[in-house]
Each structure stands twice: as C-alpha cells, then as structure tokens.
C-alpha cells in the first residue's frame, strides 16, 4: 500500500486541455473519489495513475517515488474497468489468477490466494465458469477479485457500478465498502454518481473542465459547497441572491426567502449568492410581513415530499420535507410562509 500524489499534472489532447494543472494527495488506505460530469478529466487522471496516459507535465508519485516513467505493467496497480474487461476466454479462476503469473510466488501459494479471493468476494463455487456464464454483479466481483489478488499498491475503480441496475448498484456499493475496509488498500474511485461518492468516499474531489473545483470530506462538500457548480452537482440546491444585513444586532444576509445568519461577517459589497438545501426550507402558515410563497407543484417521493414554490418576487425555490401525513396538507396553489432553517449561510464564490 502506498500514498499517491499528483503534482501539477497537465494533459492536453490537440487543442483541448483534459487535465489542467491538477494536484492532489491520496493517503495510505484512503478511499478517494473523483466526481464530475463526463468529459471533466477524471478518467484521464485515473489512467495517468494506471500508466496508460502520460502527463504532458507534472509528476505522479507513489510514496514520494516518481512513477511517471514506469509502464502500466510495472506499477502494481489493480484496476477495475467500467466494462469489467474480464478475459472472455478464461474461467473465473484463470481471470483472477492472471496477475499472479507475473509475480514470483509459489504455485501452491497462488492457488491459495485465488481460493481466498473467491471466498472473500463471495464467488466460491463459480471458479470454473466463464465470464459469459455470470450475472452482472458476479462479473463485477470477479473484476474486483482480479484487481485485488495481486495485492496492489493502489486500487483504481473506473465507474465500476455504472453497468448495473439500481438495486444491484446499491448492493455492490455496500460490497465495495466492505471489501475496501477488509483490504484497506489505497483506492482511487472515479464516478459521475454523487450518491456513490457521498456514501462511500473518505474524501472527494469535484472536477469540472479539467480542474478540481473543491475537495474534502463528503459531508463538508455537501454542507459547504464552494460555488454554484458544486452546490448543484452534489445534491439539489436553491441558489438565492443575498445582501448584507443585520438583524437583532447579528450579521447576516437578506434573501428573497428571508434572513440568514452568517458567521463570516458582512460580505463584500453588492449582491452575493447563497446555497440553501431544499431540506433546509420549511413551510408554515403565511406570516404577514415575512417571506411568503405560492406552491406551484407538490411531488410525492415516498420518503419525502418535494414542493416547488414561487416567492413573491418570482424567485423559484424548492422545499423538501418528510413525507409524513401532515406534509400532504399542502397542495399546489396554496400560499405558505417560508422559513430558512440555516445556522450559517453558505456563500458561494
């Protein structure tokens, strides 16, 4: 197991810059996520760590050792591909054992390791099958086992769950968490699915147009998105214009939906924008003199209810609240009072 560090990595393809001066560090044993829309450069970074892509400038370091010149087969990196890339002409056992052929290990030990991996990825009994005889979830496990059996210094996962249906995806998410905990390997995981990233990651980096926009623990990123892109990409968000104001002597921000306390003191002059999560918007009976809104639609989501509202000045805002019986109280057309339940305003850059 190693730590991974990227230092000022840049990669251009023709005129377009896929990765623009990116630096990041992944600690030993950390499960690090790169999250972003397609084409943001996250896969290019993963492939640079694997050695399939050489950066135009910058360094890739494993435990402070520069590996930029080492070809993929010399890096001891386990990779799980989006399409699994299982060798169709080999059995499950042969697939898992493939990487051990290139390591100086006694053949009895090799067998032992393959059996152990089959067991730990819950594939016992399927060793003799061909990949075509396995379900999607099983193929996914073989891909994981094949990458882990070589005891990689780094495990790379490239959108590993995107080919599974929703239910299986949630199941495999738990499986990956369990396996990562068990093996404790340094891992870089690339996805465009924010739920996957938020639920699994130790740390996440959000990417856009070849640049890391924000990185940190999932809860930090969710609670304090740095800009509108992050606020909207990670979860839903109401972006509201705001102006510095004071209420009861405390500093805060005035928005069309009401007043927000702000610990960061009065913002720069002029209008700023704040992010308010829909679950922090609550509805009540209309209050004279406060922010009121008209409900334009109510959507029942099962565990929650989502309401789309129009504030008096026309600003649209979304509220999300538990789907309890009294939640159904509201219907579209109703005039309601809006309260922002925020301890500290999230001011966007």
């Amino acid at each position: 197991m190693v730590s991974v560090e990227l230092k000022n990595i840049t990669k251009k393809y023709g005129g377009t810059t896929a990765v623009d001066d990116v630096s990041l560090e992944i600690g030993r044993g950390e499960l690090f996520f790169l999250l972003g829309p397609s084409g943001c450069g996250k896969t290019t970074i993963l492939r640079m760590v694997a050695g399939f892509v050489t950066p135009d400038s910058g360094e890739v370091l494993f435990d402070a050792r520069d590996v930029s010149k080492i070809p993929p087969h010399g890096r001891n990196v386990g990779m799980v591909f989006q399409t699994y890339a299982l060798f169709p002409h080999m059995t499950v056992e042969q697939n898992i054992g493939y990487g051990l052929r290139f390591r100086k290990i006694e053949s009895s030990e090799k067998k032992k390791r393959v059996v152990e991996l089959l067991d730990r990825t819950r594939l016992t009994g399927l060793g003799g099958r061909l990949p075509s005889q396995l379900s999607g979830g099983q193929q996914q496990r073989v891909a994981l086992a094949r990458a882990l059996v070589i005891q990689p210094d780094v495990l790379l996962l490239d959108e590993p769950l995107s080919n599974l249906d929703t239910r299986l995806r949630v199941e495999m998410r738990e499986e990956i968490r369990r396996i990562h905990n068990e093996f404790g390997v340094t891992a870089l995981y690339v996805t465009h699915d924010q739920e996957e990233a938020l639920s699994l990651a130790h740390r996440v980096a959000i990417m856009r147009d070849g640049v890391i926009v924000q990185s940190g623990a999932p809860s930090d990123i969710y609670m304090r998105p740095r800009n509108e892109f992050v606020a909207r990409f990670v979860g839903d968000s109401n972006i509201l214009p705001a102006k510095a104001a004071r209420r009861d002597g405390r500093p805060g921000l005035e928005t069309p939906a009401g007043w927000l306390p702000s610990s960061s003191g009065p913002p720069r002059n002029g209008t700023v924008f704040v992010s308010v999560r829909p679950e922090n918007v609550s509805l009540c009976q209309p209050i004279p003199g406060a922010a009121n809104a008209k409900i334009s639609s109510v959507t029942f989501l099962g565990s929650a209810i989502k309401a789309e509202l129009a504030l008096e000045d026309g600003t649209a805002i979304t509220a999300l609240f538990p789907g309890t019986a009294n939640g159904v109280l509201w219907k579209s057309g109703d005039i309601v009072g809006v309260r922002l339940e925020v301890d500290d305003a999230v001011v966007l850059e």
Partner: protein
C-alpha cells in the same frame, strides 16, 4: 475517447515499422523502381524511346488494347450480373435467398485457370459439343467447328464466371448500406424509376461498386493464366510472359510492364481516394425491412429458372475438368467411354506433379509464415497505434492489389538477375516473397478486423495486472483473434497453392515447379498429361473449397469484406 499514451508509438512500434518498410522496399519498391528505371533510361539518359518503340509496335499496342477491352467487358458484364443479383437478393421477395446466396459465391472456388482446361475439352475441335452435334447429325465430322477460334470471348466468359461473385459481394454490401427508408423518402418526394436510381441509389452504391469494379478490372486486365491456356497471346500479360522467355533482354518488356502498372495504379488510386472516406460499417446482409418488390409467381419461377441455368453454366467448365480427370478414354464422344480414378493416383506418383505439390506446400507454408508476421505487425500498428503518416502504412498494405502479379514477377526476374536470389538459379525465396506480398491485403484486413473487435480495454486490463506487452499479445490478444488468424492463414495458404502468374513466371526448372506451373506444363504434354493436370486442378478446387468454407466459419460474415478494396 481521446488517444492515450499506449497509442503513441514506442521503440517496439518503430522497430516493427522499420521491418515492414524493409519488407516493402525489398519486395515491392525495388523491383518496381528497377523496371521504371529500365523503361525510362536509354544509354544512361532519360528517354521515352522505349515507349515510342512500344506504341509503334503493332503487336504490343494490339495487346494493350485487347487487355483493356477484355477488362472492360469483364467488368461491364460482372457489373450487370452483380447489380441484378444484388437487387434480386436485397429488394425483392425472391424465394430461397439463402440457397442462392451460397450458390452465387461458389464460383470463387473455381479458378478460371483450371476451368480453362475443361473448356478446351468441351469446346475443342474434338470436344464434347462437337461430338454432340455430330451424333445428332448436325455437323460433318470431317469439318468440326473451332469454337475456340475467338479466344477473347472464351477468356471473358471464364473470367466473368469467376469474378462476378466479387462484384456481387461489393454491390450487395452497398445495398445493405442504403437504408430502405432513404429510398422511401425519395419516393415520397416524387422520385421514381430511373431518376430515383440515378439521384439516390447510384451515389450511395457507387463506393461499393467501384471497390468491386477496380478489383475485377485489375484482375481481368492482368490475368496471365487464362489467356495462356487459351493460347491467346495478343494480350499484355502474355506478352510480358513471353518477353521473359526470350534469350536476349527485351527492353520493350519494361515499357510494357510500366504501362500496365501505371494503368492499374491510377485505377486503384481513383477507387481508393475518390470514395475512400465513404466507407461505413456494413450492417448484416438481408436487413431488408423496407420497400420490397413483390414478384408474381410466374415471374419468380422464371427468375429461378434463369438463375439455375446461369449457375449450371457457370460450373460447366469445372464439371468438364472433373470429367477429364476421371476419363480413361475420351475422344470424339459426348461423355468419356471408360472411367478411372487412376489419374488421381498418378498426381502423387508422376514426378512432375508430385514434386510440384511438395514444392507448393513448402512455398505456401513459408509464405503464410511471412505474411502472418507482416500482417500481424501492420494490422496491430493500424489498429492500436496513432501517429502521423500512419496512412502510408495503410496504403502500402493495400498496394499489392494495385501491382499485378505479372508485373511484380517480371520485376523479380529482371531486378534480381545475377544476385543470390536470381530465380533462374533457385526461385524458392522469391516465390515465397511474391506469394506473401500478394496475400498481404487479405491478411491485414482479416487481422485488423480481429484487433478492432477485441478492443483495447482487455489489453489494458492485462497490462495493469503486470503483463508485459508481448505477454499481453500471447495470452490475451492472440487467443481472442485466433479465428481471424486461422481464417487468414487458411485462405492465404489455399490462394498461394493456386497462385498463377508468379508461379508461371518465376519457376523455370522442373524441380522448382509449383502446382500451377506443373499443370501448365503437363497440359502441353501428349499422353496422360492433360488428365493428370485435370486431376490436379480438381484437387486444387477441393482445397480452395475446403479453405473457403472453413474460413467462412471462422470469420463469419466479415468474409465478404476480404474481397473488397
């Protein structure tokens, strides 16, 4: 997906490119340039005198004109047949399409060189047709008709019968590309009949048509074996062949070869570049869920009858070769009077045929080895690497389609004169080289398809698990493209066994004869020579048939693509 660093050429790539370049320089550039130099240099100075000589020589100009006419006729007739068959198969509700589809491809296994033997027995002065007419009292036995008095048409017919499947495959491929809804849209806008065909169908079909037409044209223009068997000497390939038989170096030969080469090269370039960018992936044959002409039952019966007659006629030459090979006595009768399998035994005991089979197997096996190594290297670089100037490699790989066998063999004989490779001393190395060069386009295409199909991600997976590049090829790529490798090897072997022009020209002594040269020489001998030659021809057809069926199984419908430019 942007190109990754693994697509960038490394030292291994450049080494492979270097080896490929050396192969091309040795096998193609050197002989071609040698001929061009000889044709344009007179007493050390640039001169067109040999061309003046060539075009003022009546026999030579007549030969070139005849060859062109031959090629035009063959191309025109095969195009008419190809269009009709493709239209019937893809745009009508004709019955038994699967059966017809297979029957139309059958002539691919019938080399005209072999068919010509049969035609001589059937249409000869004392052949089957005349005997039939004499028996029926329609012909005076003392003045039989010389059916082969017009060898031009004999050659045309044999070549048409062999080549129409190539035209059919190419046009069929284009028909499959034209979405029936495009046709319907044009109809909806008011286009009909000839106008619809001219404005919509023709532009869409043109690339496939020209791809097939250029192969057929070059084939007919430069075919040596068929006219030679018909003793039809006033065509360019036979003149080239004869110029080599002369004891004194015939300098006009160079200018003739250069003229032929220039014509094929221009044609190849036109078909390649005029439509090069228009190739699209071909969907499965028979996807004809659009406008389908409903044929009435009488019309269906008529068409099927016509097709049956056509198919039957197309195998007449080869059936007659089979008859010759089985006949103990056959003179002035419709069918042989006595039958025997004896000549098939003699194929393996007669010194000339036996040695030639041994030679051909050795030459062809060696050629397969060479062409597979070259083909793997080229196809791998084309499919997996990206660098400037890569298109040159692509062109080089297809170039043997533009440089006819006669021309190349002529270049070998002259260019390597007096060197260690002089075919007059031992033609084996040059025969192997020429066989492999001729099969290179086919092999590259088959392997390129395999590499593309396998996809790069499996190779990356193997590399990430620790496998070095060559191990990836050995354990992942090759096992997965095994079908393509095997299919290409089998086809290359079978076609090499029956390669005509190079064999006739390069092998000059009995002990080096390959099969086709032995057939040619045996035919010229009295006694049982013709029967043994026929038996060899039939064995060749069986080999080719087995090879094509196996390759079809291995390569699937991609087979059709191998016969396109």
């Amino acid at each position: 997906m942007p190109s990754s660093s693994s697509e960038r050429p490394n030292a291994t790539t450049w080494l492979a490119v270097l080896a490929i370049a050396a192969f091309f320089v040795f096998s193609m550039a050197f002989p071609v340039l040698y001929m061009v130099k000889k044709a344009f240099l007179s007493d050390g100075r640039l001169s067109l005198s040999f061309f003046k000589l060539l075009f003022s020589n009546e026999i030579m100009t007549e030969s070139i004109v005849n060859s062109l006419l031959l090629a035009v006729c063959v191309t025109g007739i095969t195009a008419a047949i190809g269009f009709s068959l493709a239209w019937l198969m893809s745009r009508t509700d004709m019955p038994a399409k699967g059966l017809w589809g297979n029957l139309f491809l059958a002539p691919l296994i019938l080399p005209p060189f072999v068919g010509a033997i049969g035609v001589k027995f059937v249409f000869g002065r004392f052949g089957m047709i005349n005997s039939l007419l004499i028996q029926a009292g329609l012909l005076n036995p003392r003045s039989p008709i010389d059916w082969l008095g017009a060898p031009f048409w004999g050659v045309v017919i044999l070549e048409v019968l062999h080549l129409f499947p190539i035209m059919y495959l190419n046009i069929m491929g284009s028909f499959a590309l034209v979405d029936p809804s495009i046709e319907e849209a044009a109809r909806g806008l008011g286009a009909r009949g000839a106008r619809l065909f001219r404005t919509i169908m023709l532009p869409l079909l043109a690339p496939g048509f020209f791809a097939g037409a250029s192969i057929v044209f070059i084939w007919a223009f430069t075919d040596l074996g068929t006219p030679l068997l018909f003793e039809y000497t006033s065509v360019a390939p036979v003149q080239i062949f004869n110029s080599l038989q002369a004891t004194k170096e015939n300098l006009m030969g160079y200018s003739l070869v250069v003229v032929v080469l220039a014509m094929t090269a221009v044609l190849f370039a036109v078909s390649k570049f005029a439509f090069g960018g228009r190739r699209v992936d071909m969907p499965a044959f028979g996807r004809t869920s659009g406008t389908i002409a409903r044929l009435g039952i009488p019309l269906k019966i008529l068409i099927c009858l016509l097709l049956a007659v056509f198919v039957a006629l197309s195998i007449v030459p080869h059936v007659s070769v089979a008859l010759v090979s089985l006949s103990k006595e056959w003179f002035m009768t419709v069918l042989p009077e006595k039958w025997t399998f004896g000549y098939y035994g003699k194929v393996f005991t007669h010194p000339m045929s036996y040695v030639s089979i041994k030679n051909s197997i050795a030459f062809s096996s060696a050629a397969v080895a060479v062409v597979l190594i070259m083909g793997v290297a080229i196809a791998w670089i084309l499919a997996r690497k990206k660098f400037r100037g890569q298109w040159v490699l692509d062109i080089c790989a297809m170039l043997p389609l533009a440089v006819p066998g006669v021309v190349l063999a002529f270049g070998y004989v002259q260019g390597f004169f007096g060197t260690a490779l002089d075919p007059r001393i031992n033609p084996a190395p040059l025969l192997v080289i020429s066989y492999s060069v001729r099969r290179l386009p086919l092999v590259v295409r088959a392997l390129y398809a395999g590499f593309q199909q396998t996809g790069v991600v499996l190779e990356e997976a193997a590399a990430s698990l620790g496998a070095p590049a060559l191990t990836v090829l050995r354990t992942i790529t090759f096992p997965l493209i095994r079908a393509n490798l095997l299919g290409a090897a089998i086809l290359a072997f079978a076609f090499s066994m029956l390669e005509v022009s190079d064999s006739l020209i390069l092998a000059m002594e009995d002990r080096f004869y390959p099969i086709t040269k032995a057939i040619y020489m045996l035919l010229g001998r009295l006694g049982d020579g013709g029967m043994i030659a026929s038996a060899m021809g039939i064995l060749g057809v069986v080999l080719l048939a087995a090879a094509l069926v196996t390759a079809q199984k291995l390569l699937g419908r991609r087979m059709g693509d191998l016969f396109r430019t």
